[in-house]
Amino acid sequence: MAKVQVLNVAVLDNPSPFRNPFQFEITFECMEDLPEDLEWKIIYVGSAESEEYDQILDSVLVGPVPAGRHMFVFQADAPNTGLIPESDAVGVTVVLITCTYRSQEFIRIGYYVNNEYTDPELRENPPIKPDYTQLQRNILASNPRVTRFHINWEGSAERMEDSENVDPSSNSMLPPSCLPGKAPPIGILPDNSMDCL
């Protein structure tokens, strides 16, 4: 059960010129106080053909997150046009908002983005080299695609058993038991620590 539920994402400043920053107002609800921050990312898909052209526009930590309903605005600069294949500049692509907790992604919100020239002339005869100053970005805000992943919300001590949705690479990168200071060295934590309470 996800401790964090995204209730709404409002796309602000939309449609807007291509070079304007992305702005998403995110409302989410949390079931209980989170000891760690959430990490949000905006990923711009440069080309449908390959993940190679994905750009992480920005990532922020959000916290502290006590139990309750919260909102914040996530603003990120427009993608680096130099990294976008010219053939993919105009047309439909995707922007993704992801959220991770303890470096496990638990929600992915995708929007179709349509980049097109506002000038009918340009629309008819688009220049070979895209003119980003003339492009308008239109995020299809009404049709978010939300994918939720099951993650281990508890401390990393107990590892989630089903690895169905857990990216194996993130697992190998971060063996949870090796987190410094997380696993108490044997003998230091007194057995009677409960008595202190």
């Binding site: 709404n8 107002e25 139990a67 309903r69 439909v92 993704l96 992915r108 695609r145 994918t147």
Partner: protein, 968 residues
């Protein structure tokens, strides 16, 4: 009347499970969602009544939860209706509870834009199964929750203490696909793909019976094997069994687990059997001979052959068979609690409602009659007597009584918040204002206003704005500057999602489309005409995208990006690791400190002076440490620290009289040496007022010289030094009483005010019966009653009026552990944890700890154990003269008597509290007890009695007498 309710409003996915809420107002379905499992809660009214169906203001869907990762195989309401349990292919069991004060909201990103009218939240996740969970079942009284899985196991969970696991039943060698409890909670039965049906005892969780014969022939598999136990407990009916190569539902008799009968007729395997919760008797027709008929049960059987049959155990042939109701296999059946309605769900994504009349089924027995059947067969009553159903027919004779009944009803309503679903419940009124600012204003400036900081490693960190706090007790306490989410929140969520609600396209099926047919129940209703609206929502996405035209292919490629998880970015994760490390270190520091404190405390208690309430001890730590560590030891270089410590803590217990936390005591021995005689100084400072006294050096050290001095809080000597026979081992002062336990095992108590001995050198020998027992704890109550706790767990108090020792607590007492009075605890009287009785019995009274495990012990045993325990408590509190505790236990006791229906005891109690109405010279009745006027107590007890209609005569009787006495 047969109605067909549809599906998931947008597209048709299999529905695996259906269950009607005990109050009959809603039902839950479970099945496959878009990319997750789905649990949905629906309003029952539109299913039952056509006018509600047509009324657009009546919500059809109340809530949908897509938290399950994979298909939901089973949904079940708890018997009390407060919880919903769901189990799915994601190996999880989730338990849901309604969050009372949160307004409607949508599931973000879900294609249906319907708001959740009710909010159901997952309160606990039960993880243990290593395979798909196929069925879940609540035990009678919601003591346990059982779940079974394709991992071949059944797990029993403690439903009163989730996520505690009671046991895991192993023994099946195949996928376990169905569960059922017997109606008195003595057995749980399971059916599995291993061609067996097993019955397990709840006493020891061992296998009672293993039935294989009827299943030997079974080939092929069904998705579920939902078996069912008859409401009278006499029969267990299995799902898929075979008899002469025909599929059957096997009837297993409780008596000897005989398998002689079965329900025959289905063409394919039986997937689900569900007994009607009611027991019926033949309807008495006018004119027919009134010969008493045997009560019978009613059972519905659903099969893979898509047909449904309903049987009465009194008939040889099915009451009705309905073919071709669905396109695919029947998956689950649920009866209403009234026994007259039934929901059936199917793989084809539809749910059908069937409505029976009393003429068809017979007259349902009342709960009372059902109870008496259970009592006759099993010797224990099913339900506590004050069930609504049973009392609904009783006439309320007394207006006062009516008041209490109504109060009770409203309080239960607010507690369980069943909520009326319909137009009236959604009366939105926007007041989501925070600190005078509307949410709209906040949103306008959110970007500018939100707090953004940089972490040590330079990352952006945004502090989110808390716009509402969560309501339920299951969640963390309130936050500053936040507003609770109000029930009127519907408009708020509308506000939040303007673009979402605005774009619900006209192409969307107008809500749900329940389409009842009014054909009488026939064997073959025109199923196809009953189909729910086909959804035409598929096109939405593409139409909206039409403006962008051109690239259809890339969109397909892009689509996959929505669901694939991104590769984690290494740099960022590293940062998180380091912060995690830091916080862990931080949190370990206070823990260490606490341990240190703990050590100190324990070393002190060696002095045998740790007789003060542990709590006080803790709060006194600081001053005490100051005395010990600071001045005294420093000044007295050649002193004897150990003894001094004793003295200080001893005197400190004296200062409890003043109840001031900041009292400093200092003792200096051998301050002045005058002509060879040593003097000690005792200095006490309180709120800046100091006093000090010079004493002959040894007086305070009563250990050596056996002298006891008593001072007032200002330092006045109250009593001349008292000479004791043997050294003091424990000393207490409470109010104006002083208690001394000497090393010679005697106890004395003096009343300083009256300068009188209450207890004089009473020997402890009589209670220190054994050789090994010693005094571990002693205590003096505010009323001057001495209490002594022994190392063997028993506690005694000396009653000066009876002049005897009385046992008030025994930690080894098995009664304590078996008593189950939690149902009688009222929320508004907080447990008395500070009274002497509570202190001696341990702060966390373990009463009832075993109780939940004992539901298999006969009810009357448990009842008498609880009764005995509560009466012990009452008597002890009385002897201790602990008024508050007496009152507390009195209320619990009377509530228990009311619940259990012990009228004789209740009457005697009332009589005792009321006393004689007419005073005469000879009456010896005391109007007060332990500081309470008895009649006032009776006034408090009466509302409790008023809660059970059965006692309305008793209530009226005493109510009138109290009124009479008041007017006198």
């Amino acid at each position: 009347r047969l109605g067909k309710a549809p599906d998931w409003s947008t597209h048709r996915k299999p529905i695996f499970s259906v269950d009607i809420h005990p109050d009959g107002t809603k039902f839950a379905t479970g099945g496959q969602g878009e990319d997750s499992g789905k649990v949905m809660i629906w309003n029952m009214a539109p299913v039952l009544r056509e006018e509600d169906e047509k009324n657009e203001d009546v919500h059809k869907m109340l809530c949908q939860m897509d938290n399950h990762l994979a298909c939901v195989n089973c949904v079940r309401w708890s018997n009390n209706g407060l919880y919903l349990a769901s189990g799915g292919d994601d190996k999880l069991v989730m338990v849901w509870k309604r969050a009372a004060f949160i307004g409607p909201s949508t599931v973000f990103g879900s294609s249906s834009k319907l708001a959740n009218v009710e909010q159901w939240r997952c309160v606990t996740i039960l993880r243990n199964h290593t395979g798909d969970v196929m069925d879940v079942a609540w035990s009678p009284h919601d003591v346990w929750l059982a779940s079974c899985s394709v991992d071949n196991t059944i797990v029993i969970w403690n439903a009163r203490k989730f996520p505690e696991m009671v046991t895991c039943l192993r023994g099946h060698t195949g996928l376990v696909k169905g569960l059922t409890w017997d109606p008195v909670g003595k057995y749980v039965a399971s059916q599995a793909d291993d061609h067996s049906l097993k019955v397990w005892r709840t006493v020891d969780w061992q296998m009672e019976a293993n039935i294989t014969k009827p299943f030997n022939e079974c080939g092929g598999t069904t998705h579920v094997l939902r078996l069912s136990w008859s409401p009278d407990g006499q029969y267990l009916v299995s799902a898929h069994a075979m008899n002469n190569s025909g599929p059957t539902a096997q009837i297993v008799e409780r008596d000897g687990w005989k398998t002689n009968m079965d329900f025959v007729g289905h063409r394919k395997a039986v997937t689900v059997v569900k007994f009607n919760p009611k027991i019926f008797k033949k309807k008495q027709k006018n004119g027919s001979s009134n010969k008493p008929s045997c009560p019978y049960c009613c059972c519905a059987v659903g099969s893979k052959d898509r047909s449904l049959s309903v049987w009465l155990t009194s008939l040889k042939r099915p009451l009705v068979v309905i073919h071709d109701l669905f396109d695919k296999s029947i998956m689950d059946i649920s009866w209403t609690l009234t026994g007259l309605g039934m929901l059936v769900c199917s793989m084809d994504g539809t749910v059908a409602y069937l409505d029976f009349s009393l003429d068809e089924l017979g007259d349902p027995l009342s709960e009372e009659e059902k109870n008496s059947i259970h009592q006759n067969i099993y010797g224990k009553s099913m339900a506590i007597t004050n069930t609504e159903a049973q009392l609904s027919t009783t006439i309320i004779e007394n207006p006062e009584m009516l008041k209490y009944q109504q109060q009770r009803q409203t309080s239960t309503q607010t507690n369980s918040a069943p909520g009326t679903v319909g137009p009236e419940s959604s009366a939105p009124k926007l007041n989501s204002v925070m600190n005078g600012e509307s949410l709209e204003d906040i949103r306008k400036n959110l970007l500018k206003k939100q707090v953004e900081t940089r972490t040590a490693d330079g990352r952006r960190r945004i502090t989110p704005l808390c716009i509402a706090q969560l309501d339920t007790g299951d969640f963390s306490p309130a936050l500053f500057n936040s507003v609770p989410i109000l029930p009127s929140g519907s408009s708020m969520s509308n506000q939040l999602t303007p673009h979402l609600s605005s774009d619900s396209s006209p192409g969307q099926p107008s809500s749900l489309g329940f389409r009842p047919s009014h054909d009488p129940m026939l064997t073959s209703p025109p199923a196809n005409s009953l189909k729910a609206l086909e959804d035409n929502n598929e096109g939405v996405k593409s139409t909206l995208l039409l403006t962008s035209a051109s690239k259809i292919e890339p969109i397909k490629a892009l689509d996959s990006r929505f669901t694939e998880r991104s590769k984690a970015t290494p740099g960022l994760t590293a940062a998180i690791t380091s912060t995690a490390g830091l916080t862990a270190l931080d949190s370990s520091t206070p823990a260490q400190k606490e341990c240190k404190l703990k050590e100190d405390t324990s070393s002190d208690s060696e002095d045998k002076m740790a007789s003060i309430n542990k709590n006080l001890m803790y709060s006194k730590r600081k001053p005490e440490l100051m005395i010990d560590g600071g001045e005294v030891v420093e000044k007295r270089k050649k002193g004897r620290p150990r003894k001094e410590k004793m003295t200080t803590s001893m005197v400190q217990s004296f200062t409890q009289v003043s109840m001031e936390p900041s009292v400093f005591l200092e003792v200096e021995n051998e301050v002045t040496v005058v002509a060879g005689s040593k003097l000690s100084q005792l200095r006490c400072s309180k709120d800046g007022r100091d006093w000090n006294t010079l004493l002959p050096s040894s007086t305070l050290e009563s250990v050596e010289d056996r002298m006891l001095s008593v001072f007032s809080s200002c330092g006045r000597r109250l009593l001349p030094a008292i000479q004791l026979a043997t050294p003091v081992s424990a000393l207490h002062c409470t109010a104006h009483f002083v208690m001394v336990v000497t090393a010679g095992a005697t106890l004395s108590v003096w009343d300083v005010q009256k300068q009188k001995a209450l207890v004089r050198n009473e020997s402890l020998q009589s209670i220190l019966s054994g050789t090994d027992t010693s005094v571990s704890q002693s205590l003096l109550t505010q009323q001057g009653v001495p209490v002594v706790g022994l190392s063997n767990g028993k506690s005694f108090c000396f009653s000066s009026s009876l002049e005897t020792w009385s046992l008030i607590a025994d930690k080894a007492d098995s009664l304590v552990q078996c008593a189950d009075f939690r149902g009688c605890l009222s929320s508004h009287d907080a447990p008395v944890s500070s009274g002497p009785l509570a202190v001696m019995q341990g702060r966390y009274l373990n009463a009832g700890r075993l109780a939940s495990r004992l539901s298999s012990t006969p009810h009357h045993m448990q009842q008498s154990m609880t009764l005995a325990f509560l009466e012990n408590q009452l008597a002890s509190a009385l002897t201790l003269q602990s008024g508050q505790e007496y009152r507390y236990w009195l209320l619990i006791y009377s509530r228990f008597l009311v619940n259990e229906g012990s009228e004789h005891r209740l009457r005697e109690l009332c009589k005792e509290l009321l006393g004689p109405v007419h005073t005469s010279a000879t009456t010896s009745w005391e109007p007060t007890t332990v500081g309470f006027r008895k009649r006032e107590l009776l006034r408090e007890v009466l509302p409790v009695i008023g809660e059970n209609l059965r006692f309305q005569r008793l209530f009226t009787e005493y109510q009138d007498q109290l009124e009479l006495l008041r007017n006198k």
